[in-house]
């Protein structure tokens, strides 16, 4: 069940006009920002179906960019996000796509800076709630409402155990976990939703573990 809190229904408090097209879009932008190391300097935003048709009227454009700038759904600066992005040197391009997608409110975000790059697909499922369905080419299903860790690793035995034992040592509880790989023995991704936010020192420890190539996190 996607909606498991009363505040998914009565909420969020937000700047209008649309919970799926504005608040949900801002949350997808925030998720992408959280996954990138550092400030995004450029963003290519691909919009599909209802997002592509109505993004200007619904403020989906400024909401996605507001999210990329780290604004919350009720931040009064949201309306001016496109201008603020320009001032802060974030170069944004919108692309309207006509391809069929599973859900009408879908966006593919490619963002990056000199050091890092993130590509994700976000879906706004209604009432401001979102799901992340793809990250850097890996399929996944993530609510974006809990803290989450993204651990890129080599597909070798013991890689998962080393990560979970580090989390256990720091008393971090795992609520949901998915493992995905491109092929046997190749790049793989662990997505771990946790009940607690994961501190920097734990991230550092995870990065040093064997067969782990990259760790990023999303704050809940």
């Amino acid at each position: 069940m996607s909606f498991n809190s009363v505040f998914d229904i009565i909420g969020p408090v937000m700047v209008g006009p649309s919970s799926s097209h504005t608040a949900g879009a801002a949350r997808i932008g925030q998720a992408a920002r959280n996954l990138l190391h550092g400030q995004p300097q450029w963003a290519k935003i691909h919009l599909y179906e209802s997002f592509a048709k109505t993004y200007k009227g619904h403020g989906t454009d400024f909401a996605l960019v507001g999210g990329l700038l780290g604004f919350a759904t009720d931040d009064p600066r949201m309306k001016k996000a496109l201008k603020i992005a320009k001032d802060r040197g974030l170069d944004v391009t919108f692309i309207e796509n006509t391809a069929a997608v599973d859900h009408p409110n879908t966006v593919r975000l490619r963002i990056g800076n000199a050091e890092d790059q993130v590509e994700l697909v976000g879906v706004s499922i209604g009432g401001g709630k979102i799901e992340i369905t793809e990250l850097n080419g890996f399929q996944l299903r993530l609510s974006g409402h809990h803290p989450a860790l993204f651990v890129m690793h080599n597909d070798r035995f013991g890689a998962i155990a080393s990560v979970t034992s580090i989390l256990a040592k720091h008393k971090i509880n795992i609520g949901h976990m998915e493992v995905n790989r491109k092929d046997v023995g190749k790049d793989a991704l662990m997505v771990i939703e946790t009940d607690q936010n994961v501190e920097d020192v734990i991230i550092k420890e995870l990065m040093e573990a064997k067969n782990i190539t990259h760790v990023s996190r999303m704050i809940g």
Partner: protein
Amino acid sequence: MFRTVAELVEVAEREKILISEVMIRQEVERKEKTREEVFQAMEQNLDVMEKAIHDSLQGVTSVTGLTGEDAVRIQEYMQTNTPLSGHLLLDAVSKAMGTNEVNAAMGTICATPTAGSAGVVPGTLFAVKNQLKPTREQMVRYLFTAGAFGMVVANNAYISGAAGGCQAEVGSAAAMASAAIVEMAGGTAQQSAEGFAMTLKNMLGLVCDPVAGLVEVPCVKRNAGGASLAIVSADMALAGVESRIPCDEVIGAMYRIGRNMPASLRETGEGGLAATPTGQLLKEKIFGSKVPNEQSS
């Protein structure tokens, strides 16, 4: 965790508690929060709703000028006339529209369950309040009751216009409000379910066809319709009228109808009222000759 309205009503009856109480207890348990934390968070939402209504009654207009000031217009009419539909009903209509006028003007609102349908629940609450004289706690409970029903809809059907049409947005909001009114007026849990069912039945098939893709026309006035229907159905339920089709089956019907709705009638701004000559004209006026919805799908 309750999955259906039948389960929700059953828990309330078995434990001899209100539906709002079922929702509060579940939230406390599942989110590992204290009762005070949960209650306070909802009260903050209530504060946002109250402020939005207050702001709207000072008069707001959207950037496009398509919507605004109607909430004030209705309040003024009520001062000098005896409304045919009754003072309480028209007050709810005014406050529901006012909330959505604030939303269209990109003001701050609380989505219930969405932004486009954010007027119905607070609009009815702040009108019914004048007659039922609830405590602040009962007003917060109103939101928990509405939320409990909304969760069932969201998990078994949809609450977004893009997925299921306006029946999923304003339809759900109106039905949620009706259930909450019944509880506040002292009705039983089952009567809340009846109020919900009778409201949603009257909203089935409603399409999402916003002019120029904006959450303005006809959204603001659909909130007016939703608010009035919520109150009428609540009265019917309190009078003992029952829905022949059980609540959960009405939600199922809403789901299947939404599945059969073409994309042009699900928040793409391409069909229905958006496609009328005036709808097209307004779109051109707002976005100029190069309209964003121009490309074919």
